[in-house]
Subunit: 246 residues, 2 copies
């Protein structure tokens, strides 16, 4: 019996989605609970392996159970155990799916948001939730620069050296930038992303926002197909996996 889980987590004290030997991960928390339910070890696959410090509003994973169980009961079993372990992870919903459903390979769209807090004073209440940037950012210039990223491109300039994707060519469907109070919110969507792609795009667009790069520089950087041409990687704490579409 296959079930689809939708998962929220606070990535601050996690080593990311994937199981690691040296610290807690979402996968480990969830697999340990699944092992109890199944009585044997089964691996859990997610839509995307988020990095250490990255959050999820709605990560998706699938699990296989040895027996049928009501959806609400699976949810309560996971959340009860997660609360008890004080895991920074919560199951938002559980849904029975076909055996053919695969959280990773059936995904048609992944959406992320990136939050920048753009004000002079730091915010203790938003620590590890936003990237605090004290110098005023020009949103219009960032939007102009972001336009060059939309579409089908070789994103090598925005790809982490550790990236395991077969090809650096991806299609970016959306990159919207909006002001919300003192925050600047980036919304990006694609079928899939390269490792660090969103954080590298945001880190480079921030240089445009500060006036240290002209918007057209994004085109040149993209065409260089060289990670050294782009700006720094934006911090993990501002990034949220917000939706996976199937």
């Amino acid at each position: 019996m296959r079930y689809k889980l939708t998962i929220e987590y606070d990535g601050t004290n996690l080593l990311g989605w994937q199981r690691q030997l040296d610290g807690p991960s979402v996968q480990q928390y969830l697999e340990d609970i699944l092992d109890k339910l199944n009585g044997e070890h089964k691996e859990i696959t997610s839509a995307g392996r988020t990095d250490a410090g990255v959050h999820a509003l709605a990560q998706v994973a699938h699990i296989d159970l040895n027996r049928e169980m009501p959806e609400w009961k699976i949810k309560e079993a996971f959340n009860g155990n997660l609360l008890q372990e004080e895991a920074p992870v919560s199951i938002l919903s559980v849904e029975a799916v076909e055996e053919s459903f695969n959280a990773r390979f059936s995904a048609k769209k992944r959406a992320y948001i990136y939050r920048i807090l753009n004000r002079r004073a730091p915010s203790p209440l938003l620590k590890n939730r936003v990237w605090w940037t004290p110098y005023p950012l020009d949103i219009e210039k960032m939007r102009e620069g972001a336009k060059f990223l939309i579409g089908h491109h070789d994103f090598s300039s925005f790809r982490a050296s550790a990236c395991q994707a077969k090809s650096p060519v991806k299609t970016l469907d959306k990159i919207d930038i909006r002001q919300e109070g003192e925050e600047i919110i980036f919304e990006v969507e694609a079928r899939s992303f390269l490792h660090h792609q969103v954080r590298n795009m945001v880190g480079t667009l921030k240089l445009v926002g500060e006036g240290r790069l002209p918007p057209e520089a994004i085109k040149t950087i993209l065409e260089a197909k060289d990670r050294n041409a782009a700006g720094p990687t934006a911090p993990a704490g501002g990034l949220y996996l917000s939706k996976v579409g199937y």
Copy 2:
């Protein structure tokens, strides 16, 4: 030279505003920095002494400096030191004021917000930021009950036993309740509040929202003038001092 400070803090790991011997407080962090600036110890007075775990979006305090300093320089001096000490406190603004200004006694209005997360699954991203209540709350019923609290009343039923106020009689100017996504937000305003008054009002209104008390019970509870008549104290983490008016 007197200056008005507007302060944000994450109360989660603080013992509250007031200096304590057994742990960190906002007052202690700020006074230690002020001591450095002045070269001698001076106490700092705030608009209200928030409890352990309670947050502030805009607490107000005043400080006296031995010499004149540009406002921005005072702000940077405080924030530089606070960041270095990883204090969960930030100075949002500094403003030169008359000697007659007193953060506590000149305050004409205090506003708080209280955030309830009303959904089945807990939220790791909002831990210590909201009160998570999994059973559905009826907002209309809570509003009906809240109406009885508006105005000039003896609030003994909602007063902590440790409260040091001379009189239990206060005037509640506003208690608005609204839904915002999965959250229920309370906004309350008064010239001043009794100790735990907001949290005791919210804790009691939650019983009305759950249908465990009828809205009219709030009137009876208020008239009882007895803390035992009301509901439990809502947790500190959902409460934010949001504005002080002068």
